[in-house]
Symmetry: D5
Subunit: 95 residues, 10 copies
Amino acid sequence: MLFHVRMDVAIPHDLDPELRTEIVTKEKARALELQRSGVWPHLWRVVGEYSNISIFDVGSGDELHDLLSSLPLFPYMTIKVTPLATHPSDLQVQR
Amino acid sequence: MLFHVRMDVAIPHDLDPELRTEIVTKEKARALELQRSGVWPHLWRVVGEYSNISIFDVGSGDELHDLLSSLPLFPYMTIKVTPLATHPSDLQVQR
Amino acid sequence: MLFHVRMDVAIPHDLDPELRTEIVTKEKARALELQRSGVWPHLWRVVGEYSNISIFDVGSGDELHDLLSSLPLFPYMTIKVTPLATHPSDLQVQR
Amino acid sequence: MLFHVRMDVAIPHDLDPELRTEIVTKEKARALELQRSGVWPHLWRVVGEYSNISIFDVGSGDELHDLLSSLPLFPYMTIKVTPLATHPSDLQVQR
Amino acid sequence: MLFHVRMDVAIPHDLDPELRTEIVTKEKARALELQRSGVWPHLWRVVGEYSNISIFDVGSGDELHDLLSSLPLFPYMTIKVTPLATHPSDLQVQR
Amino acid sequence: MLFHVRMDVAIPHDLDPELRTEIVTKEKARALELQRSGVWPHLWRVVGEYSNISIFDVGSGDELHDLLSSLPLFPYMTIKVTPLATHPSDLQVQR
Amino acid sequence: MLFHVRMDVAIPHDLDPELRTEIVTKEKARALELQRSGVWPHLWRVVGEYSNISIFDVGSGDELHDLLSSLPLFPYMTIKVTPLATHPSDLQVQR
Amino acid sequence: MLFHVRMDVAIPHDLDPELRTEIVTKEKARALELQRSGVWPHLWRVVGEYSNISIFDVGSGDELHDLLSSLPLFPYMTIKVTPLATHPSDLQVQR
Amino acid sequence: MLFHVRMDVAIPHDLDPELRTEIVTKEKARALELQRSGVWPHLWRVVGEYSNISIFDVGSGDELHDLLSSLPLFPYMTIKVTPLATHPSDLQVQR
Amino acid sequence: MLFHVRMDVAIPHDLDPELRTEIVTKEKARALELQRSGVWPHLWRVVGEYSNISIFDVGSGDELHDLLSSLPLFPYMTIKVTPLATHPSDLQVQR
């Protein structure tokens, strides 16, 4: 099932710069890995913000929480998850 | 360019039932028409709410406003538009 | 999977009293029916408010939206859905 | 009586890592102890957040405050308590 | 146990004036009755608002909800309940 | 006259522990002193929060501000003051 | 003592026009009367809003609530009262 | 001086359609008249909303309030005014 | 013209104490200087908060911003400016 | 197309003063450079706040995000972007 996820990143300004670079590098690698696996079909930047809006396609809330909390930036993000359903006017579900 | 749009519908309970039915029917037809034209690539229902989260792909803010205000439910919706950009970790933009 | 659902009811004061009674009666019947089916394991009243906090156990967001929008009071409720996951400190998942 | 409790955890990023580990370990032990005693019948993770939604079953507000403030993470949590009542449509209270 | 309750009254301006008068009269009678019974030890007006802040002393959330929903103005009020506990610096609990 | 006061305490986690203990100890002494003087007739803990809800009985806003800003925890508290009036349905003002 | 009062007016659009005119006319007369009596030393319009920001100088919360609830527009206003104190940097209290 | 003004329009759905048309027609005429006079140098539509963001150039708050309250849609708008100043990095004020 | 200004002060707890004292001392001197010049006719303390509500009488937004940003506490304050206009019911503008 | 952008600056008080000066100096240079290029036609200070309200004229959301994230103060700003469209009552689009 699909979930709408907004992630707002706020890395403390006094975090060790090397640690910061390491976390951000690992975050990108993990994001690519999850996208390749098919669970993260959409990932967009919110213009002007250190934030993204994403769509996840997972089997359960447990799976989604495991994925999100595996992100290296997880401790520095505010995440808001909204469950989605098929819209009756969605072109792809018309016959 | 892409825009994230959330629409929350609130039809007044004392609206004439026939008018209501007519508006909702026309809304679906217009939504399908816009999806077929390619400007409305994603349309999801928010679980538990008379709301949708959509992605629009248009050439300008003017075009998007014209599309949204052409929706028959426009007078009864609260709409929030968020401009999107390509995310540097988006799998599709990696080389 | 489990979802936390809060429903706040606001029936317009000028709704026809007979219609109101009919809706509320049907709502209770539907709520009992859903609880018996196992998809609505918990239903609590919020003290002092015409609101409830519920736990739903369903297979998908689509199923949950179908259930919620089948409630006779749906047009008069503000509903907020929060997806849940197993907590690592939950006694029932310890070995 | 039942209380709905939401706990949002925000451990300062510059807290001593050993202290942090110690607090989190003690928190889990205390949470299990309280669940075994019967006062904390439900504990769920909020998907994507370092938060839980819980149901407590206690004799009074004094007892609940003592329990919550005994949690090792208490100084780092924002807690919101909502008193619950039996819902008239709850299947378990029908005759 | 004690609960802090804030009630904000908003009677629709187009409610039948006689019905309005009847409700307000009955509300006062019921408020006095509850105060005499000991469950409503404090009742204050919020300056400048059609609102009150009250302290209730009841045995459970069920009892409190029954009392609040028995108020004739209940359908026209927004009510917010906050559970209270003994404060360790309260003069009356010092030895 | 009466004022409703809510105080939310947030002591920085990196405050010197000895200073913290000293402030908290002095706060309790000052709170007891003010209660004995009659200006602070009610003091309750908000369940689950490092907060209190209080009623003050003072002659003026100047007096109340002097009292509140004399509290040792004042620099670490968010305080919200709401002026109260006699409620026309208060049992104690009926004849 | 001084109170800062903000009043936001929202007269229902379907209120009888004659009644509306009558209320607004009486409101102005009452506002002038209160200003002449000295209890309402400042009255300003908020630019762009059907709102005012006022300073009242009264002996108690009871007196202020009586004054505010005597305003003909009281049932159509959202009022927010903030108690004021002398500021230590106020030029008029320096020696 | 310059003011930033956001206007959100909410015409009641049950307003007489002829009256509505008349108000909207007069609103446009008045908006054009004010723009021609030079006091309203910028007027933009917010995408997806029945709202505008405007810049006004007037001599005082009194003048701005007179202009805004002269708009035929004034009774149906929520208006928020933010005073502006010259920005030190504004290209036009560099030498 | 008149502006309503609310200033909320939040000095970081770990600011050097001498620097803090110096800033607060200079703030008072500057506040008195501005009041003497006539641009700051009213300055009140908000009861229970490290905040003030003020009225400024200046010629433009530029002048007001220059004054406010010249305050030594400016970097530690959250400031909210609301433009005011003459109220039609203000006693002083009646003939 | 046009975008309305509000930027609120919050530089941590414990940032190295030299670094701070360097960032602020570079910010001004970059802001002037962008204004000269035509993409940043309007830049105003919000009175009393370390904030600006700006209008950007760019070809896409990608371009706008690149510009905004190139600002030296970007890590210390909260930015809110609102897409704009031509207003039908804009004097410049009338024939």
